[in-house]
Symmetry: C2
Subunit: 234 residues, 2 copies
Amino acid sequence: MIESVNNPKIKEYSKLQSKKYRDESGLFIVEGDHLVEEALKKTQAVEIYSLDDSYTQVSESVMRKLSSLSTPPNVLAVCKKLEEGELKGNVLILENLQDPGNLGTIIRSSVAFNIDTIILSKDCVDFYNVKVLRASEGMVFNINIVIRDLNETILELKDKGYTVYTTNVVNGTNLSEVTVPEKYAIVMGNEGNGVTEETASLCDEAIYIPMNKTCESLNVGIATSIILYEFSQK
Amino acid sequence: MIESVNNPKIKEYSKLQSKKYRDESGLFIVEGDHLVEEALKKTQAVEIYSLDDSYTQVSESVMRKLSSLSTPPNVLAVCKKLEEGELKGNVLILENLQDPGNLGTIIRSSVAFNIDTIILSKDCVDFYNVKVLRASEGMVFNINIVIRDLNETILELKDKGYTVYTTNVVNGTNLSEVTVPEKYAIVMGNEGNGVTEETASLCDEAIYIPMNKTCESLNVGIATSIILYEFSQK
């Protein structure tokens, strides 16, 4: 049983709460039964720590040191980051998404509505952030997520025969009237600013969600999920 | 200019961060330009405080005392709570919703998709909570929100000719195949537990959102918004 928060491994792993150290080490932490279980189906655990003796037993103070939660879990795992897969199937592209809760729920909805690959721009919030993992309800482990330069990647997708959609509240086709092609990629933008003009200019078509004019816009997680739902229905 | 955090009014209004005192006083606080502007279209301000001399000028320490935000706003208003209107139009019923962010985004989506009345059960998070107001992007002031006993209210709606829908991941009609009646009410439940059996048993029909089986469920804000979008399209 590890009782000391000064144990060298514990000190090292507690640094995984920062993106910088996750990037350097290629490791991340998942917390709680459900997420640990989902993670272990898809990636290797370097260590699993628990308050009881199911795995390497640790004291409550050690668990608190490793955890990002205000109420530390009974179990957490230090895991190897997932490998990026090929760009294929139905694609969702996210540009400069900042809120971890939004990214997590979008990942969850993406699995629900048959997205195969999520492409994140380099300035998105880290998807190994504990709040993203939690809001995704573990669905982060059931989808291919890659980090790419968006301009190059959109051109690559178009070369492969994809139709690339951007969203725009003013112009474009009503979502309910879109004819969904065999290969599609949908680009969604930052919470405050939407898709950048540069990225939008590379897209084939714009779509909008028809809504009451009193409401200027939807939360980006909501807007994305409605679009993915509608595309999955056609 | 009010400089002291010990000013009696300031001390009193700072208590509005708690639901208990909001309920006792019939007042609430909105923070920031956009929300203050939206609030003042629909309710009366008792006081408006700002860091500059646009309104009653206050020091930064006073603003910090009144604000619930980690970065206090330039302006905030102490307002009278809104009056509850009649139950009419398209109705959304929320049972025991707990997360302020979820309630706020649901209010925003409700305005977008033509809901007229939102009925909250008594155990929902307070919609005057600062996080709800913020996540609603001020849309809380553009919709009728009432707090009611759900059992009585569902029976009342049925008497008035409403069809009342509940959601269920297992049984019911596929959302995309629902024939939307003239008068409808949709019941959504708590984040972890969904709609209670008791409430579900009072409803006329159950609907589900068709999705990939890998994903067990959607975030309640997402699920609600997709259903409202689909109903608004029919």
